[in-house]
Symmetry: C2
Subunit: 235 residues, 2 copies
């Protein structure tokens, strides 16, 4: 007899339930164009430096758009040795504001999948990583907030984070599954604790979320979010 599906199903937000990375890709493109106009550098140098500064700043700023905006400004100043004009810095500040106000566009099937999981008596959680204020705003604008039994916004998604959440709410890892687009943040730490990890790739992955080397835990790869309910089976 197959084991029952886990009672608690958690879903990631950015690039799992709603589009996010596309907005960052646009910002990368706009940053590149701006720096091409204000320097003699080539595209690759500009892209690489922004990525490097962004990574270097994670330890200082954490995840999120405000930190990314500060990283764009810092990179622009570094690459031009402080010579980029104020009006260009203003463009970057405005780009950050535009990202924060960007409409939340749901991933295909998001509402239906959550509703199906609820109908099957799962407890459905949202576990999302990033800036508290920005994530709360996005969750509100997504229209999904009332569909979740629990919403957790965390600053990092590692083994310790999931362990703490499960302990706090008295959930056995064997009774827990997490689905998301990041192997590093959504799938591997949950699989490491003995929960079920479901990987739902987004068409682009932020370089910082890339995993290298073999994957040491079993997990399930899905082609789309819509496959999640049948992959879990019935309770």
């Amino acid at each position: 007899m197959p084991a029952l599906p886990p009672r608690v199903i958690a879903l990631d937000g950015d690039d799992t339930l709603w589009h996010n990375e596309a907005m960052f890709s646009t910002s990368y493109a706009e940053f590149r164009d701006l720096l091409l106009r204000h320097s003699d550098l080539d595209q690759a140098t500009i892209d690489e430096r922004l990525l490097l500064v962004e990574r270097r700043n994670l330890v200082t700023y954490g995840y999120g758009i405000k930190g990314f905006t500060l990283s764009m400004i810092e990179t622009a100043l570094e690459l031009t040795e402080g010579r980029i004009p104020g009006i260009a810095i203003e463009t970057l500040v405005q780009r950050g504001r535009a990202m924060l106000a960007h409409p939340v566009e749901l991933i295909d099937g998001a509402v239906e999948v959550i509703e199906t999981l609820r109908e099957r008596d799962h407890e459905v959680w949202l576990i999302t990583k990033g800036d508290l204020f920005d994530q709360e705003s996005k969750i509100a604008r997504s229209g999904l907030a009332d569909l979740f039994h629990r919403i957790e916004i965390v600053s990092e998604k590692d083994d310790a984070t999931y362990r703490r959440l499960l302990d706090r709410h008295g959930v056995d890892p064997a009774d827990f599954a997490m689905a998301g687009n990041s192997l590093k943040s959504d799938v591997l730490p949950v699989a490491a604790l003995g929960g079920q990890g479901f990987h739902v790739p987004y068409h682009t992955t932020w370089a910082h979320e890339m995993v290298s080397g073999p994957i040491p835990y079993p997990y399930t790869e899905l082609a789309s979010l819509r496959e999640l309910p049948s992959a879990l089976g019935s309770r």
Copy 2:
């Protein structure tokens, strides 16, 4: 017979358990000096504009140092019509980084008060407002984390926030007290729900946290954090 003191005592972080506003005052002074060097404006105009931009941006950035840094950059660009040199913008970015790395200096009596409350069998919570990543970092550096039974980081402290926290943890407002330096964020919303509010003023108050008009709920004013245990009485 007097009523028992409340079971759950919550404390605010910034300017209640550790110094915070002093660091912002220093940033205001450095911003003023920088703009005096790069414009013909007077001190008052510079201070007022930064405060105005900061307030205007709360709805976009929320509370915290990253948003404040972006507000400093935006104000500098506005006040100089984009003419401030890149090197000055870099100074502002660095000022933000310095704030994020600033040592956490505890308010006199912080540890002793928490320990006394614990010895008297209170459940002691920390409820702090602001940027998730920055607050987690400060809590870790404060050395106080292990002394709390519960730590909650929220994006806003209003009636709805406290109501949600108390509901979630099954605490009756009559069994709840909150102590902090902000009438607006720590005292009034708790008193409005029927909990006990203790106001522990800090020597400076951020303009945004000022309350105008009469206070419609009873609360207790303390001269210092050290007075809290005796003001609560014994359980």
